[in-house]
Structures are given as C-alpha cells and as structure tokens.
C-alpha cells in the first residue's frame, strides 16, 4: 500500500535549515492500522503531511498504491489526494457555513459526482457514523465528537485507499476520544488502511502497530496487541 525509502525533509529557518526528517523508511500494508508517535518536533506531522501529499519530500522515495509520488503539480496532487486519501484533522476543519451533509459531500463535489448521487452517498456515510438525523445541522450546532464523526464521514465519502488522521482525538475529552477510536477501529476491521499521528499512549495502543519517531528518525517500529476501545465506551 505505502512504501517510503530514505525520506528527507528540511525546512529553511532564516539562513540555516532545520532537518526534520532524516531518512525515514516505512512500509505499510493493506489493512494495517499504524500509530505514528513522537514528541512535538519529532517530525511526525511532517511525515503525515508528506504521506498526505500536502507537502513534498526533499529526497527519497514515496510510492503509494504502486504510484510513485514525485514532482507532483498542484493539480495532480489535488487529484491524488481526492482519489487516494481521506484526512481527519485535530481541529475537524469542517466548513462552518455548510451543513453536515454538504461537508461530507464536498470531496464528492470535487470528484465531479452529480448532486443527487453525491447527496445519497454523503447521507449513507453520515448514517454510518450515526449522524443521519443531524444532516441538516451546521457544524457549530454539533458537539466535538459529532464534528469529528462528520469529519470522518467526509474522509470516507470519497472511498479513499488510505485514511490519515492527525491527532484525531487531540481536541476531545477521553470518553469521546474512545468513542471515536472505537469507530476508527471498526473501519479498520472492515479493511481500511489507517495512519494515526498521536502523542497519547492509550490512543496509540488502540492501533495494531506503533512507529516511534524521535528527531526525524524512526526509533522503534513494533506490532502491538490492539486494545479495543469498545471496552471503555
């Protein structure tokens, strides 16, 4: 599914540059659920952004589902993002003047799907996250957990190959966090490949594999016994 070799990335800071990723090798198979852990500044978000094609690596190889991701134009990157990836953000990033249904339908809009079909698909995914009755509500009428579920529905709407979550529970209380993780686990059970960036140990242990980053290198990469979130819910 995902293959990364000797990935380097540095950011210019004034005259010098900050070397954030110092040769990352990572490969993720279909159906895996991987937590990327690390303290702030370890480069975990940068790695996720590169995987998410929001940022480009300076050096190294990145192959996603057999497609080498290199020298992308903005347009191509946009099309790949739309086709391959679903994003879940810490701050949900819902569009606040669109209701839940329209938010979920947005990736489908950019796929050029017709309105009718789009609404149906979006509604299907909203139902999947249990928010069908809230379809007409604006994001500010929803609780944090509900917002994140709308965001998950949105990420799922385009049926992506890979789900990328950047601190998906960072803005939620523990109980809601577990509910969200429970849902993400169920998605993984259905076969979705999921990458989660987090700095919370309990969240990381709800994945099947933990990759620990420190100062831009992978320190540890281990398979773990998955803790089911459902027992806390």
């Amino acid at each position: 599914m995902l293959n990364i070799k000797k990935l380097h990335k540095s950011y210019p800071i004034g005259d010098s540059s900050l070397h954030v990723l110092k040769g990352i090798d990572l490969s993720v198979d279909n159906g895996e659920m991987v937590a990327i852990m690390g303290s702030s500044g370890s480069g975990k978000s940068t790695l996720l952004n590169i995987i998410g094609m929001l940022d480009e690596a300076d050096d190294g190889e990145y192959i996603l589902d057999g497609v080498p991701i290199k020298n992308l134009t903005e347009k191509k990157a946009a099309i790949y993002r739309n086709k391959f990836l679903g994003f879940i953000f810490q701050s949900f990033n819902l569009i606040n003047y669109k209701n839940a249904l329209d938010n979920v339908a947005l990736p489908l809009y950019y796929q050029g799907i017709k309105r009718q079909e789009r609404q149906e698909k979006a509604l299907f995914h909203l139902e999947k996250v249990g928010l069908k009755p809230w379809a007409e509500h604006l994001p500010n009428e929803l609780s944090g957990g509900q917002k994140q579920r709308v965001a998950i529905a949105r990420a799922l709407a385009a049926n992506p190959k890979l789900l990328l979550a950047d601190e998906p529970t960072g803005a939620l209380d523990t109980k809601t966090s577990y509910e969200i993780m429970d849902f993400i686990q169920s998605l993984n059970d259905e076969g979705k490949t999921i990458l989660i960036v987090t700095h919370e140990e309990d969240i990381a242990h709800m994945c099947k594999r933990i990759v620990r980053l420190t100062d831009g290198v992978i320190l540890e990469d281990e398979k773990v016994e998955q803790v089911r979130a459902s027992q806390y819910v």
Binding site: E74, K75, A78, I79, N82, Y110, A158
Partner: protein
C-alpha cells in the same frame, strides 16, 4: 466552463460563501451599485436633456442660417451709406446656384396683417412661402395640406393656419377646411392647419400663404424679406454664411467690409454649441460613471482579498479534499463576477427608478426640461459587459492569492 456555469452546485457554492456574511457582501456591493446608479442616472438625464433639445429643434433643419437685408454703413461705388438693402428672388437664386454645400434656399416674406373671420379678428404675421419651407421647417399638419406648387403658379388665395389661430378665430370642433378668412381685406380659403411648434425659431409664422400671392397682395415685386439657407448635412454652415454674404455684397454693391448691411442668424452655429455641450456632458457622465465603477470594482477586489485571507483555512481544507488550484480560482472569480453583476443589476434597476422619478418630476408637459430620460439597452449591455470584464480581472487577484498559499500552510493556520 459553460457547463460549470450552468450547474446548480456552482451557484450553491457562490451563494453559500456570499450569504454566510450578508452584511459584508452588501457593503461590498455598495461601490459598484453606486457607480452603476450614477452612470445610469446621469446618462439618462443627459439623454433627457438631449431629447428636450431635439424636441425643440426637431421640426427644424438645424444646419441653417437666416440672412436678411439691413442698412449699409459704408458708402460704396457712389452709393451713400444708410441705404436700405433689399434682397430679391434673384439674389436667392444666385446664392443657391453659386454657394457650395447648399441644400435649399428658402426665400420668405412676412407682414403683419389684420385677419378677419365673421365677427372675430386679430393681427397676425402673414408669411409668403414656397412649398420648400415644409422641408426645412417641418409642419405637423393636423388637417389638410401645406402650400403646393400649383398654389404658387396660380397665385391662389389659400392659407395654412396654425392651431393657435384656429382657436382664436373658430369655435371648438368647427370645420375649418374650405372656410374663408379675410387677410388684408381679401378672402382666403383655408387649406390646412398645423400643430403649434414647441418653439418658434426666427420670426413667428402663424399664417402661410403662397409666396406669389403674397407678392401680389402686398405689392412686393421681386423683393423678399429674408432667406433661409440650409446646408447639406456635412456642410460647414459658417462657410456657407460667409460665401452667401460675399455673393450678396457683390450683387447689391455693398462695401466688402460693411458688416451691418446684412443681418443673419446662424442656427447651425448655435445648435453646434448646444450639441457640443451635450456631447461634453455625455463624455463627462461616462467618465464619472466608469471611474466610480472602477473604484467600486476595486472595493470588491479588496474585500475579496480580505475574504480570501479569512478563508485561508477553508481553502486549505478544500484543497486537502481534492480541489485543484484551478477549481479554487474559478470559484473565487465566479464569486467576484457574480457579486459585481448582482450589484450592477441592482444599480441598473435603482437607476431606472431614479429616471422614472426624474421623468415624473421634470419630464411632464410641453415645457419639460428633461424629456424621456432614459438609457438605451445597448448602454446597459455595455455597462454589464464592463462589469463582467472588471469583475473577472479583479477576481483574479484574490484567486491567485488564494492558491499561492500551500494547502499545508493554510491548514496549519489556526
């Protein structure tokens, strides 16, 4: 692109983003609205003024000059000064033959006479005229006809009267064609009645009789009161005036530098002044209107730029979800054009209301200063096209601004 513009989703997106901040969208529109309002209001008023001038001069060949004889002020070739200059039909004929650019020469005669009908009477100006007069000073005939060539050749005693005279000499709704009136003690058959002009240019002309008849009854011989020279549409009327006077001086033995021997009134020159004023006003109107429009469109661009800044994150999200830079740009340009056009249409509508207001306040009746204040559909279209072009251009600035930020930076912004 056409398909894109016809899709409901496109407009849903535009509507969503504009209606989420209604107040700001409205304020954004004020500039363009005001510009179009000014443009339509001013252009309409200018057109109304032009219409009212055209109504005043409408029935008149405006490229004309009147020439009449006065008294000489310099002795010449044995003649003393103070000699009365009398123009003749021969003079008129020679002027017509020799001056370049002349279309018509209309010799005219006029006299004040007592006009009697039964027990009613009044003193009116009686004009001896050729049928040609109808060409240069169109008479709106309400009944009957104007003088024709047969009237001239047979010295018929026929008269064409104005509506005013009819009102003074006849009962209301009384039949007047074929009736007689007494001019200078002689019976004349009425053959026609014309509508009063809005303005009487030159001497008043209340009763017209055939030129030859006039010669007979007033014993005028070959003399004429004055002549009206009409130039061809592209002829220089000042030159015609000068040329005609030169010929008339030679024919009547008048000193070349005698400025008082002939009186003249150059209607063409006067009219050109008014036309020039109107053109100037229209130019000014366009200038002010377009300048205001441009300012308004810039205000829209400015606000959109701010909006884009505020929407950086939203744009980042959209791009993360797979919106291509082109789609983002297109969206913002469409928003810009839409808001510009919407403001423009509002401006046109309110401008139209103002013109209706002006029309009902100043545009009623015969003495109206502003007649039918209006703008043509073409002007409206030009204004709309200008708006679309300006809206597109100004929308490009925030559009490029929006996509110049990397999605990662846009998302990072909290």
């Amino acid at each position: 692109m056409i398909k894109f513009l016809l899709e409901r989703d496109t407009w849903q997106e535009v509507w969503d983003s504009l209606s989420k901040n209604k107040l700001r969208s409205m304020l954004t529109m004020v500039g363009v609205w005001w510009g179009i309002l000014l443009l339509i209001g001013l252009l309409g008023s200018a057109k109304g003024l032009e219409n009212s001038f055209n109504r005043l001069f409408g029935s008149f060949a405006t490229n004309s000059v009147f020439v009449w004889g006065q008294s000489t002020s310099k002795p010449f070739k044995g003649f003393q000064e103070g000699r009365r200059v009398k123009l003749t039909l021969t003079d008129a004929k020679l002027v017509e033959e020799n001056v370049e650019g002349i279309e018509f020469v209309v010799p005219r005669n006029q006299n004040q006479s007592l006009v009697v009908r039964d027990f009613l009477s009044g003193t009116y100006s009686v004009n001896g005229d050729f049928p040609l007069l109808d060409k240069v000073q169109k008479k709106k005939m309400m009944f009957g006809r104007f003088i024709n060539q047969s009237d001239i050749e047979e010295n018929r005693k026929v008269a064409v009267i104005s509506e005013d005279i009819y009102k003074q000499l006849f009962e209301k709704d009384e039949e007047m064609i074929g009736q007689y009136i007494k001019i200078n003690g002689m019976n004349f058959t009425i053959i026609g009645m014309f509508e009063n002009g809005n303005v009487n240019m030159g001497p008043t002309s209340d009763i017209h009789i055939p030129f030859t008849t006039f010669q007979q009854i007033y014993n005028q011989g070959n003399q004429i009161g004055w002549m009206m020279l009409t130039g061809k549409p592209d002829a220089d009327i000042s030159q015609i005036e000068a040329d005609a006077k030169l010929i008339l001086r030679n024919l009547n033995n008048i000193h070349p530098e005698d400025k008082r021997a002939f009186g003249s009134f150059n209607l063409g020159k006067e009219f050109a002044k008014i036309t020039g004023f109107l053109i100037g006003m229209q130019f000014l109107t366009w200038f002010v209107g377009i300048a205001t429009l441009i300012a308004g469109v810039f205000a829209i661009g400015n606000i959109l730029l701010i909006t884009v800044k505020e929407r950086t994150k939203e744009i980042g999200v959209r791009r993360a979800l797979g919106a291509t830079p082109f789609e983002i740009k297109r969206q913002i340009v469409v928003e810009a054009v839409f808001i510009t056009l919407l403001a423009g249409v509002f401006g046109i509508i309110t401008g139209g209301w103002i013109l209706i207001g002006i029309d009902s306040a100043f545009g009623q009746g015969d003495e109206a200063v502003i007649v039918n204040a209006s703008v043509s559909i073409a002007v409206v279209f030009i204004a709309l096209i200008i708006l679309v072009v300006l809206g597109t251009l100004i929308g490009l600035i925030p559009a490029f601004k929006a996509t110049s930020i990397k999605p990662i930076d846009a998302l990072r912004e909290e």
